[in-house]
Symmetry: D2
Subunit: 270 residues, 4 copies
């Protein structure tokens, strides 16, 4: 882990990042929302639902990194405007993914947290670009990325002057096919010992199966995660992407309740 | 998962396996002990220590599958006699690994649970041989094994007439090098939905780092595991194998306390 | 690669292993035959066909390591007798896999080369048992095995006094799903620099696709392999195992011709 | 492989791409040069050396995707001007990597082939941007990318109107640590059956070891590759990046000679 100067943990205070009224790294945060922003009605509806269920931030993709060029690529600026509208209505801070260096500056007018997706973890110009902004960055682990490579990517952002990096474990690619990826929960305590940065978990991309999300959300809390990010849609069957891993508001509400209860228990455990 | 008839879960009651006074699959079990049985004094001392700390069974290797032929290969029969002595003194049931079909029958005189290690998961003659005994079998997941292959191996045992198979997730091999393996905790809820067999977790082999064992033990409980198996040695620095992942009795005691507290909490969570 | 004393290459002459009239490690060898021995007619027919096409040894499984207990498990002793008959008729030395330590001694009456399959690479009692025989051993690489682990397994055999180990690269398990495994041809020159043992390649298990076998056979020769092992069946569609990667005698004949031509060219290349 | 319309091979003529006087896909091409462009003297010297040794194109990085922000990041525009100078002196077409969508248009003034590196394989805005140019694109396989994902990335480029995509296998990430990556040569015949696009091989990144490059280059030719790309430096020990896998001009010259000889042989093989 040599050369990881700013992101390494040795002798440093744990980082806390203010987003809205919460401090990521201190308060347990739950980020939820649709995989893709599809239209205003859907987005605002989901935003109200996840807020009611206890979410702290709204996620939603305006730019979608899709394997095929023929898959829905996201609404772009229109999607960001819809997210801004949802924020206006619910007060939830917005998390959305940036794909292109050319979009980063103007996206800051619409989002509260800039997300770097797994496929772009080592998109170094993009890391430098978000490092120049004053927005917190949610940096997902690449699906074939070691912990060392991941922290080096955080280092790219920190080195540009932006200290607010939230790491997100979202599953790595292995030979197993039952799950979409293999969620590496050991990354949570490992990052805690290697770095001062907060780390949250994405149990939906990590497993790709609705039936496993609740258990893995609870396991993430027990492992010490600082939060969760999940996909929620009013009607997952009609979602334009990631249908197999998207929760209904009811399923989500149930998970949030259990997760927050477990978090309280863990805080009292010694 | 076709062809998995006996191990599959559909429409079946969850399996409970009596070992001593406990029912694996109902009671949360903690199996602990040295990686290798080294001598009687060490083994009996560790047995008393893990019992005092709350362990339910004693593990200890008499036959050791070592990468190099020049590494300590275990004490064999002498080791099993030492384990029997430790059982006599503490009452703890014994879990020990079988490597060779020729040893299975006579090992049953000394052990309460026959362990099949990760390297032998697809040693089909060995699976058939333990399937012919009346001893519960602890079947570890191969380090490159899919869930489907693993359940097929359980099927080999069940198909010989032995219904008492306990599965054990112990980490899979991935590109990550910070941890020795990648502990796949999603296997816990996945196995719960695919099979009626109990599943426990080995956080020591799964991570290879003492500093990660406590967190991953707690995460395993939250994920729904039926128990844990860990390595404990009075003086890990002098252990003949697996020094980097072996707990002291004190560290172990602390983990058991937290784990049992969390288990109680989880049973009340709904 | 520490502790690899006997298998390591430093300062040693390359090993040559006499099998029939050929020297493995000097002569390029082609081993062919059915995945499983099914009956005498089939086996003798295939034996004649592969001999006519230029094979140097006959392979055929009497004990089959199958993922499911309900799949065809091989004919056992009857299968070995059939192989002996095929040898009597064609003169081809026999290569067949041992699965159980209890079978090794008596199998030596029927086979010329004992094969250790990928799943048993780290079955240490089995390695020791074949190490005690006077038969050459074909040691396949485990599908999640590093080169270092593989050479340590050769060391187990050599350490028992059997110097005749032939290594076989047969593909490793990765995330790719188009091929059954990922054939790691870099293992060929890597083993040549790490060890004095001969190494052959199995392009059938390595790819799992008939359409890729010819190209990968040629690539193996160019990489410096000492031979090939492939599956051939008179009527692959009716084979009891590995249908998707089994060649017809005609396809095999075509590959042998090209492979031997390339081998001659490579010997003249400098 | 559904949704791969333009890149799929069914019923289409194999693509040939004119670069300088050669047709990639018909003529065997060798691309060589330093990992990073360091200064004019070094670059022009290497350019002359690789041309003399039989290279067809000059590679050299002006923008370097480095794991650490503190590693040499490349000379940028200055590096491209040096490459242009080397082209002027030797006539070799230039291959150089683009990292940022903002650089693509103006880079076209300096390079003949735009390279997309492994880390950017799924940088979709970058793929679209190079798809809008009239320059051939060298698209490296991501180190955790399936063949299907790779061809979908080619599809992104083709779908923008740029038909000239050259694929490049450069090794995938596996558990093996002896080699830097695992070079997947089966990708060569697999791509030939799935697509009409030419495919070349990078044996340097694929293995990370100079001692394996010659063998794997020959194996790539035998597998049917349309060319090779390697790193050459006048004094590899002083190179600013990738020292362990960079050839001297003499080593390179020897490999080119053998490779071209084998290619001629393969063209006559039937």
């Amino acid at each position: 882990m040599k050369d990881i100067k700013l992101a390494s943990g040795a002798g440093k205070k744990r980082t806390r990042i203010q987003v809205g009224r919460l401090q990521v790294g201190l308060d347990f945060i739950v980020i939820a929302g649709p995989c893709s922003v599809e239209d205003e009605t859907q987005t605002v509806e989901v935003a109200h639902a996840v807020k009611a269920a206890g979410a702290n931030m709204l996620r939603g993709g305006a730019f979608k990194p899709r394997s095929s060029p023929y898959a829905f690529q996201g609404l772009g600026l229109k999607g960001l405007k819809i997210l801004a509208k949802a924020k206006e209505e619910t007060g939830l801070p917005i998390v959305s993914e940036a794909l292109d260096t050319r979009d980063v500056v103007w996206m800051c007018d619409y989002v509260d947290v800039l997300q770097i997706g797994a496929r772009n973890m080592q998109n170094f110009p993009l890391l430098k670009e978000v490092g120049k902004t004053r927005k917190p960055v949610l940096l997902k682990r690449g699906m074939n990325s070691t912990l060392s490579e991941w922290l080096n990517c955080a280092e790219y952002i920190l080195n540009e002057g932006n200290a607010d990096v939230i790491l997100c474990e979202r599953g790595i690619r292995t030979f197993e096919t039952y799950t979409r990826n293999t969620l590496d929960l050991s990354a949570v305590p490992a990052i805690k010992e290697l770095s001062h940065l907060p780390i949250i978990v994405d149990p939906a991309h990590g497993t790709g199966r609705i039936s496993l999300i609740a258990s893995m959300s609870l396991a993430a809390v027990a492992a010490g995660a600082d939060g969760l990010i999940v996909e929620v849609h009013s009607n997952p069957k009609t979602a334009l992407s990631d249908r197999d891993q998207t929760l209904t508001p009811l399923q989500f509400s149930e998970i949030v309740r259990q997760v927050r209860s477990l978090r309280s228990f863990m805080e009292g455990l010694n």
